[in-house]
C-alpha cells in the first residue's frame, strides 16, 4: 500500500469524484461526507509520505512502471513532502468549513457538481505537487484551473461570472505561457522529466531558447500566483467567489502555484542558472518589494473585508517571492515558512470573512461595527491570525519575517530588508481597519454591559468555527514551535539550493 501511495493520492480522489457525482445524483446528502472522507484520506496519505520521506529519503514512483524519460514519475522529496501536508491540511480545514457556507451560498441543485469540482480542484493541486514530470504538471495545473474558474462562478452573485471569466482569460494566458515554456525546454533538451531536464540543461545554458523558456515559465507562474503587477484577476476572483472557495484558492491554490514556481526555478533551472547564468535576482527582489508595498497600500484603501484580504494576498506573495530573490539558505527557510504561515493565517482570515458574510450577509467595513460583541470567538480568531499577518512575536508570521530579514541582511540587501520591515507596518494598516471596526467602533453606551448585539446576529455555527479557531491557534503554536518545524524546512531548502 505504502509504495503505491503516491498514485493513490491522485487516483482515489478521481474515482471519488465520480462516486460523488453518481451517489449525489441519487441523493445530494452523500456528497459532503464523501468529499470529507476523501480529503481526510489524502491528508493522512500526505502525512504518511512526509514521514516516509523524512525517514527514507526521496521517493520515486514510476507510473505504469515506465522509467523516465519515457514514462511519467511522481517524486516526493523533502520539498514537496513539506508542501503536500500543508496543502491537504488547508483543504481539509476548508472541507469541514464548507458545508454550512455552501448550503447558504450555492443553489441546492448545484451542490453536487460543486463538491465534484471541489474534489477535482484539490486533486489537481495534489497532482501538481507530487509530479516529477513538467508536462504532467501542466495537465494538473489545467485541471485545477478549470475547476477553480467554475467554483468561483458558482456563487449566486452575477459579478462572480465576470470575475471568473477574467480569471479564465488571464489563467489561460498563463497556461499558454507555461505550455510554450515547456515546449522550449523540450526543444532544447528533448525530455520532460524534471530531474532529467536539470541534468541536461546546463549544456544549453547559453541558448536563447532556454532563456525564453525561463521567462515564459516565470511569467506564467507569476500570473498564477498573482505577483504584482500580474495580480489583476485576483481581487475580483477572491471577493466574488463563495466563501469556501475563496479560502481554498487563496490558500491551497495560491501556495501550490508558488510551489510550482519554486520547483521549476530551483529543480529544473537550478540556482546555477538563475543566480549565475542570468542574474535576475536583483530584478526579482525589486518586483517582490514593489508587490509587498503596493499590495499592502491597495489593501489599506479597500472598504470591504474580503477585498482587503485579497489585496493583502498580493502583498504576502511578495514575501515568498522575495525569498526567491535572495536565494540563500536562511531567506529561503523564511520563504518556505511563510508558505505555511501565510496559508494558515490567510485561510483563517478568509474563514472569518466567510463567517461574517454567513451571518451578516455583507463584509463591507461600514456594516461591521461592533461585530466583536456578537461574534467574539470569530473576531478573536481574526485578531490572532491578524497579529500573525503583522508579524507580532511569537506567531508564525513573526518567525518567517525574522528569517527573511535575517537572510536579506546576510546577503547584504539592506534596503530590501528595510522594505520587508516596512511592509509589516503596512500590514498593521489594513489589519487594524477590521480590528477597530469590530472591537472599538464608538460605543456610546457606558453602562455596565457590553455592546448591544444586533438582532439575529450570532456566533458562527460550530462546523465553521472549529476549523477557523484551529487555524488561528496554529498561527501561534507554529510560531512557538518553529524550531522543530525547521527540521523539515531546512532539508527542503538544502535540496532546493543543491539542485535537483
Amino acid at each position: 500500500m505504502i509504495e503505491h501511495l503516491p498514485v493513490l493520492l491522485v487516483t482515489v480522489p478521481i474515482v471519488a469524484a465520480l462516486l460523488i457525482l453518481l451517489l449525489g445524483w441519487h441523493d445530494s446528502r452523500f456528497c459532503y461526507p464523501l468529499t470529507l472522507a476523501t480529503i481526510l484520506f489524502q491528508f493522512a496519505g500526505g502525512i504518511a509520505l512526509l514521514i516516509e520521506v523524512m525517514r527514507e529519503g526521496t521517493i520515486h514512483y514510476y507510473l505504469g512502471g515506465w522509467a523516465p524519460p519515457l514514462g511519467i514519475e511522481f517524486v516526493i522529496d523533502t520539498f514537496n513532502g513539506y508542501i503536500l501536508p500543508i496543502v491537504l491540511l488547508l483543504a481539509l480545514a476548508t472541507a469541514v468549513y464548507a458545508r454550512r457556507s455552501v448550503e447558504k451560498e450555492i443553489k441546492p441543485e448545484k451542490i453536487v457538481s460543486f463538491y465534484v469540482l471541489f474534489q477535482l480542484l484539490v486533486t489537481g493541486l495534489v497532482g501538481m505537487t507530487i509530479t516529477g514530470d513538467i508536462f504532467n504538471l501542466y495537465v494538473f495545473l489545467e485541471i485545477s484551473s478549470i475547476a477553480a474558474y467554475t467554483l468561483i462562478a458558482s456563487s449566486r452573485k452575477p459579478r462572480a461570472y465576470v470575475a471568473a471569466l477574467n480569471y479564465l482569460v488571464l489563467g489561460s494566458i498563463a497556461g499558454g505561457f507555461v505550455l510554450l515554456g515547456i515546449g522550449n525546454l523540450y526543444v532544447a533538451t528533448g525530455t520532460l522529466n524534471m530531474a532529467d531536464l536539470a541534468r541536461l540543461l546546463p549544456a544549453s545554458y547559453g541558448l536563447a531558447t532556454v532563456h525564453t523558456a525561463f521567462l515564459l515559465l516565470v511569467i506564467g507562474f507569476s500570473i498564477k500566483v498573482a505577483l504584482f503587477p500580474l495580480h489583476l484577476w485576483l481581487p475580483d476572483a477572491y471577493t466574488e467567489a463563495p466563501s469556501a472557495v475563496t479560502v481554498l484558492i487563496s490558500t491551497v491554490m495560491a501556495k501550490v502555484s508558488v510551489y510550482a514556481m519554486f520547483r521549476v526555478i530551483f529543480s529544473v533551472f537550478t540556482t546555477a542558472y538563475f543566480v549565475e547564468t542570468v542574474p535576475v535576482t536583483e530584478l526579482i527582489l525589486f518586483i517582490a518589494a514593489v508587490a509587498i508595498v503596493a499590495g499592502a497600500v491597495l489593501a489599506i484603501a479597500q472598504e470591504d473585508l474580503k477585498r482587503m484580504l485579497a489585496y493583502s494576498s498580493v502583498s504576502q506573495v511578495g514575501y515568498i517571492v522575495f525569498a526567491l530573490g535572495v536565494a540563500n539558505q536562511i531567506a529561503l527557510e523564511g520563504g518556505l515558512l511563510h508558505i505555511l504561515g501565510h496559508a494558515v493565517m490567510k485561510g483563517c482570515l478568509f474563514m472569518v470573512a466567510g463567517v461574517i458574510i454567513y451571518r451578516l450577509g455583507t463584509s463591507s467595513f461600514s456594516d461591521l461595527k461592533g461585530v466583536a460583541a456578537t461574534m467574539p470567538v470569530t473576531c478573536a480568531a481574526f485578531a490572532l491570525a491578524g497579529a500573525s499577518m503583522i508579524g507580532v512575536p511569537p506567531t508564525i508570521g513573526f518567525a518567517s519575517k525574522y528569517y527573511l530579514v535575517l537572510g536579506a541582511l546576510e546577503a547584504g540587501h539592506w534596503v530590501y530588508a528595510a522594505v520587508l520591515l516596512a511592509g509589516s507596518l503596512l500590514a498593521v494598516g489594513y489589519i487594524w481597519r477590521f480590528i477597530e471596526v469590530a472591537y472599538f467602533s464608538a460605543s456610546s453606551h457606558h453602562e455596565g454591559g457590553d455592546h448591544h448585539p444586533a438582532p439575529g446576529v450570532r456566533e458562527a455555527p460550530l462546523s465553521m468555527l472549529v476549523p477557523m479557531v484551529i487555524l488561528s491557534i496554529l498561527c501561534l503554536v507554529l510560531g512557538i514551535f518553529v524550531d522543530p518545524l525547521m527540521k523539515i524546512v531546512a532539508p527542503a531548502v538544502s535540496l532546493l539550493l543543491g539542485g535537483a
Partner: protein, 496 residues
C-alpha cells in the same frame, strides 16, 4: 555569579497568562473574574519574592523554554537588575489591581472583561521583559506588550481615543520594527543575542556600525518616551486612569528604560559606549528631554497630561544616569526605575481618585478639593515632593546618585540640568498642591458631593506613598541591594 536552573521564572510569567484565560472564561461573573485578577497578582508577587533570596545571594535563575529562532531561544534568566523591574511591577500590579477594580466598578465602565484580560496579559509580558535572557526573548515580550496595551489605551472607544490609539500603535510598532532590525543586526554581527554582563559587542564591527546599531536600539525603545519620540505618551492619556498608572509606572515606559539600561550594560557595556562617544549622545537626548518636557508640563492644565509630561521628563533621568557611564550614574539610573514607579503611580492613583470622587480632570477645577478628600490630597503632595527629590521620600536617593555621577564623571553641566529640572518639577507640582490643599473653590457648594474615593482605591494610594517613604529610610531593602549586585555584575566593582 552562579547560574542555577529553576522553574520559578517561567511560573511567574505563566501565572498572569493563566489568569487571563480564566478572566475570559469567567467574564460574566464580575466577582469571580476580579477574584482571578487579585489571586494572580498575589500569586505572582509570592513567586517573585520567592526568588528574591537566591538573587540577593548572588545567584541567577535561568530556564530555557524552547528553541525559537536563530539568535536566541525563548529563555528566561532572572538577575538582580531584572529583579528590580519584576519586583516593582509585581508589587504595583497587586495594588493597581485593587485600584482598577474599584475604579472600573465606580465608573461602571464597559467591556471590563476585556480590560482585565489585557491587563493580565500585559503584566505577563512585562515580567517576561524583566526576565528575558536574550534580545529575541526581550523582543517577543516587548511586542506582545505593545499589542496588548492597545485595547487598554482605546478603552473608551471615542473617536479621540481611537486617534490616540492609532498614534500609540504607530509609535510603538515602528519602534518595534527598529528593535527587530537591531536584534537581527546584532545577531549577524556577533552570532548571539544573549545578555552578557559588561556587553558582548566590543570589537564585532566598525564604530560607525555600532553607533548606528545603538540608534536603532534607541528608536526601538521608544517606550522610554524620550523626546522627540514621546508623542504617544501624552496621547495615551485618554485611557482610563488605572491604564495610565499601568503605562507610567507598572509596565510600559518602565519596559522602555529597562531595555535601554539592559542594552547599555549587557549588550554594549559602559567602556564600549564611552569609546563610541554614545554617552554624549544619550546625555544630549536626556538633558533636552528633561528640560523640555518639564516646560511642557508647566503649560498643561489637565492633571493627567501634566503628569504624563512629568513622566517623560523623569524617565530621561534614567537615560541621563546611563549617559554618565560611571558607577554612580548607573546606580542612580537603576535605582530611579522603582523609585519613580512608586512615586508616579501614587500621583496617577490620585488623579483617578479625583475623577471618580469628584469627576474633575482639570487642575483649575480642583481648588480646595483637599478639604473633602484630605488623605488623597496629602498623599498626592507627598508623592509630588518625592518626585522633586526632597526628603523624606525616595526620590532623593536616585537624585543624589545622579548628582554624584555628574560630578564624578566631570560633566558639571549635567548637574545644572538636574538642578534646573528640580526647580521646574517644583514649579509644576507646587501649584497643584497649593490648589488642592489651600485653594478656595469658586462655588463652595460644588464640593458638597465630593468625598474620599472608595477604599479599594484609597488603600493603594496610601500604600504606595508609604512604600516610597520606606524606600527612603531603608533603601537597601531590597532595591539598592539588587542594584548593587547588578552594578557589580556589569562593572566588576562595588558601589562606593
Amino acid at each position: 555569579m552562579v547560574d542555577v536552573t529553576g522553574l520559578l521564572p517561567a511560573v511567574t510569567v505563566v501565572i498572569p497568562l493563566l489568569a487571563a484565560v480564566m478572566i475570559l472564561v469567567s467574564g460574566r461573573h464580575e466577582n469571580i473574574r476580579d477574584g482571578f485578577t487579585v489571586a494572580a497578582a498575589v500569586a505572582m508577587l509570592v513567586s517573585v519574592v520567592a526568588m528574591l533570596p537566591s538573587i540577593l545571594s548572588g545567584e541567577r535563575i535561568t530556564i530555557s523554554l524552547i528553541p525559537l529562532l536563530p539568535g536566541g531561544d525563548l529563555a528566561l534568566r532572572v538577575d538582580a537588575f531584572g529583579m528590580v523591574f519584576a519586583l516593582t511591577a509585581a508589587v504595583l500590579w497587586l495594588l493597581n489591581s485593587f485600584y482598577s477594580i474599584g475604579y472600573m466598578r465606580s465608573l461602571k465602565e464597559h467591556a471590563q472583561t476585556r480590560f482585565f484580560f489585557c491587563l493580565a496579559v500585559a503584566i505577563a509580558a512585562a515580567i517576561g521583559i524583566a526576565f528575558s535572557a536574550n534580545l529575541v526573548t526581550l523582543l517577543v515580550f516587548y511586542e506582545i506588550l505593545t499589542i496588548i496595551t492597545y485595547p487598554l489605551v482605546v478603552h473608551v472607544e471615542t473617536p479621540e481615543a481611537m486617534a490616540a490609539g492609532r498614534k500609540y500603535l504607530a509609535y510603538l510598532l515602528i519602534g518595534g520594527i527598529f528593535f527587530l532590525a537591531a536584534v537581527i543586526l546584532t545577531y549577524i554581527l556577533t552570532g548571539t543575542t544573549g545578555f552578557v554582563p559588561g556587553g558582548f559587542l566590543a570589537g564585532s564591527a566598525p564604530p560607525l556600525t555600532l553607533q548606528i546599531l545603538f540608534v536603532l536600539f534607541m528608536v526601538g525603545f521608544v517606550k522610554a518616551a524620550w523626546m522627540p519620540l514621546h508623542g504617544w505618551l501624552p496621547a495615551a492619556m485618554v485611557a482610563p486612569t488605572p491604564v495610565s498608572a499601568f503605562l507610567h509606572a507598572v509596565a510600559v515606559v518602565t519596559a522602555g528604560v529597562f531595555g535601554i539600561v539592559r542594552i547599555a550594560g549587557w549588550v554594549y557595556g559602559m567602556d564600549l559606549l564611552a569609546s563610541l562617544g554614545l554617552g554624549t549622545l544619550l546625555a544630549v537626548i536626556a538633558s533636552f528631554t528633561i528640560i523640555t518636557a518639564s516646560l511642557f508640563a508647566l503649560t498643561e492644565d489637565n492633571l493627567k497630561r501634566r503628569l504624563a509630561y512629568s513622566t517623560v521628563s523623569q524617565l530621561s533621568y534614567i537615560l541621563l544616569g546611563v549617559s554618565m557611564l560611571s558607577i554612580a550614574g548607573m546606580t542612580g539610573a537603576m535605582a530611579h526605575i522603582p523609585i519613580h514607579a512608586f512615586l508616579k503611580i501614587t500621583l496617577f492613583f490620585v488623579a483617578g481618585a479625583v475623577i471618580v470622587a469628584a469627576g474633575r480632570e482639570r487642575i483649575s477645577d480642583m481648588k480646595g478639593i483637599g478639604r473633602k478628600m484630605p488623605v488623597t490630597a496629602v498623599m498626592f503632595s507627598a508623592a509630588a515632593i518625592g518626585i522633586c527629590g526632597l526628603p523624606p521620600l525616595s526620590g532623593l536617593i536616585s537624585k543624589v546618585y545622579l548628582a554624584l555621577g555628574a560630578v564624578e564623571g566631570g560633566v558639571p553641566i549635567l548637574l545644572i540640568v538636574l538642578i534646573a529640572s528640580t526647580v521646574l518639577n517644583a514649579a509644576y507640582f507646587f501649584p497643584i498642591i497649593h490648589t488642592m490643599l489651600l485653594g478656595r473653590p469658586d462655588d463652595e457648594r460644588s464640593l458638597d458631593s465630593v468625598s474620599e474615593p472608595p477604599l479599594t482605591m484609597l488603600v493603594p494610594i496610601v500604600l504606595t506613598t508609604v512604600a516610597s517613604v520606606l524606600i527612603f529610610f531603608f533603601p537597601s531593602m531590597p532595591f539598592m541591594d539588587l542594584v548593587e549586585i547588578a552594578i557589580g555584575e556589569i562593572t566588576g566593582s562595588v558601589i562606593p
